[in-house]
Subunit: 362 residues, 2 copies
């Protein structure tokens, strides 16, 4: 590289991050700059789509930077516990993580809206809200106070409503139902009279088999098939009203992010966006294949929750969300933005996506 | 960074691109390599979302490469005509373009499936088919014989069905209807007894106003509002059965692509994927806002095509697609892949996205 070009190209990087670079030793971001990061995730080692997707994201950053910016990925438990991601990244133990913001509801109730809320938006809606409806700006605002920067980096699509050992015909069928369902979905089920049971992944199958629980939600056909639930439950219900489009996050230490030269920031951002669209595509492909297997494999019945059940659950979800929103001003602000965006988008969806699924797709 | 880490991280980058670098003169792609490309598009200068999106894509490539790989963007007509993109890129006049593959149906009928076909997949389905269902591999196969490489780089989402000056209650209401609707959608309308009129964008408004045509499709609420159709048509019908999720393309000269160092290829690919997800998000946001304006602004009626009309149109669309698929073996192969994927995905969508829109979103 010629001396003149060198100065020019470095200049571009410095402009974007001048506040930070001013405080750093000169030349620290030249063409020879090497950055080595570590990423911790909330997923088991080799966990398909989520852990493999996080690894793809890291690989892409390396490819984009000709190996000058590398990210070593650690699955949940390898370096910090699966739910230790937020603290590890916030405290700077590692520079970034791949997880889901709703795990950090204990830090700030507002974060729950950035993954998925009961009767919330699906993947397409979440992307529209986050990228163009002010959602990501709010997320950045919430995370900023913890020294963090968030990026959408994957989506599960509409999840399934769960495995049940009895039919759900009315809302009262939730009364006394022992169901494994964490988070806000669990709060809704509890309001409906259910008993919410929290279990680690490894104990769900046997608990369902032995009748310790009557029902469980997990993810979708692809991951559920791997758990073998089709062998110990009779009814498989859709849709996942409690998680209609869960956003996965790239969670980044803010100081580490701001210290990056502009092109490494761009590499992280572009790789996150690419992972966002491709992970959802992978979910859709694998879920559709797994559903065919489930149908031919087990003695299960695929069901859709009756309208009256959904109307009842939606009413309870509204109450749960209002309660969460009242916990602090930031949660209230995020809830308001989300609700207004969703109301407007729904009107458009009636003519577009809803009409597509009801009159075009079939 | 320690010397040991330096060697490790550079090693990772070199491994990924060894096949390419081995065949090229030494040092031709060193850190000082500058690449300057030109992109031509099919969109008018400044055309929102599409032209601006193509410009964002080019900008992102520059950011990712610290300005070492720049792409100058020319709108339709600035360097070559809007529909001259394919030839200009194929012949190497420019290195890349932003357009839609179905414009090139005259080159190869198979390309139509890579944008959108009547009663085909929506955006989420197209991404799943292209990235994980073999669609992009087929697209690469078709384009390869023209010296081209394709990448999905944007999506319109479900378009609108069009503006009409009379109600559409039965399929026979298309009889004698003079409608501006190009492509395969036009062939379907013709089969339904309509008269298909092709008009340049600038003549649609006055033709509709003067009754030269009875109906026109365009894009969606945001772009349609800018055309002012709400002032000269009574009924605005959804959904856009003829284009339920049109994929925009980054079309690249194959020789130019293959001559790129690995990290510049990665920059193009990642920027295209990022544009793919963000453009759809922008469409959703802007369409939902524009719909509210249209509703309060004009004296128009928002309508959804009746089920019986859609069933009739779907049957005709099936015939049109079979005819297109029979034109050459490659079209038949693409049609088969698309159909099989769609059939499987639909089964999954009934429990997930369709159930979301009918029982969760509202």
């Amino acid at each position: 590289m010629k001396r003149r070009d060198f100065v020019k190209s470095v200049g571009a990087g410095i402009l974007a991050s001048s506040a930070v670079t001013a405080a750093l030793p000169q030349n620290s971001f030249g063409a020879d700059k090497k950055v080595r990061w570590r990423m911790v995730t909330s997923w088991p080692p080799g966990f398909p789509i989520l852990q493999t997707g996080a690894e793809e994201l890291a690989k892409r950053v390396g490819e984009l930077t000709q190996g000058r910016f590398t990210i070593q990925v650690f699955a949940g438990g390898e370096l910090v516990p699966p739910l230790g991601v937020f603290d590890a990244v916030s405290q700077g133990t590692v520079q970034c993580g791949h997880s889901a913001s709703y795990y950090w509801a204990g830090k700030s109730p507002a974060v729950q809206w950035f993954t998925s809320v009961p009767f919330g938006l699906n993947a397409q809606g979440m992307n529209a809200w986050l990228y163009y409806g002010g959602g990501l700006k709010l997320w950045e605002e919430v995370y900023s106070s913890f020294g963090l920067v968030p990026r959408p980096a994957g989506n599960t699509g509409v999840q399934m409503g769960g495995w049940f050992n009895k039919e759900i015909n009315t809302l009262s069928d939730f009364k006394g139902l022992k169901m494994r369902i964490p988070g806000l979905g669990g709060k809704v089920v509890k309001k409906a009279g259910g008993t919410v049971v929290l279990l680690p992944a490894g104990e769900i199958y046997t608990s369902l088999e032995r009748g310790v629980i009557d029902a469980t939600e997990w993810v979708g056909p692809y991951h559920d098939l791997r758990m073998g639930f089709q062998r110990v439950a009779k009814f498989y219900y859709g849709p996942g009203w409690h998680e209609p489009g869960s956003v996965l996050e790239l969670i980044i230490n803010k100081k580490a992010y701001e210290a990056l030269p502009a092109e490494f920031k761009a590499a992280l951002d572009a790789a996150a966006a690419e992972t966002n669209v491709k992970m959802l595509a992978e979910f859709e492909q694998k879920n559709s294949k797994a559903l065919s297997l489930l149908e031919t494999d087990g003695n299960i019945k695929l069901k859709i929750f009756p309208d009256q059940v959904m109307i009842g659950l939606r009413k309870l979800a509204k109450e749960v969300l209002s309660q969460e929103a009242s916990k602090d001003p930031m949660a209230a602000k995020v809830h308001k933005s989300f609700k207004e965006f969703k109301t407007r988008l729904n009107k458009w969806s009636i003519l577009s996506e809803k009409a597509y699924y009801t009159t075009v797709a079939g």
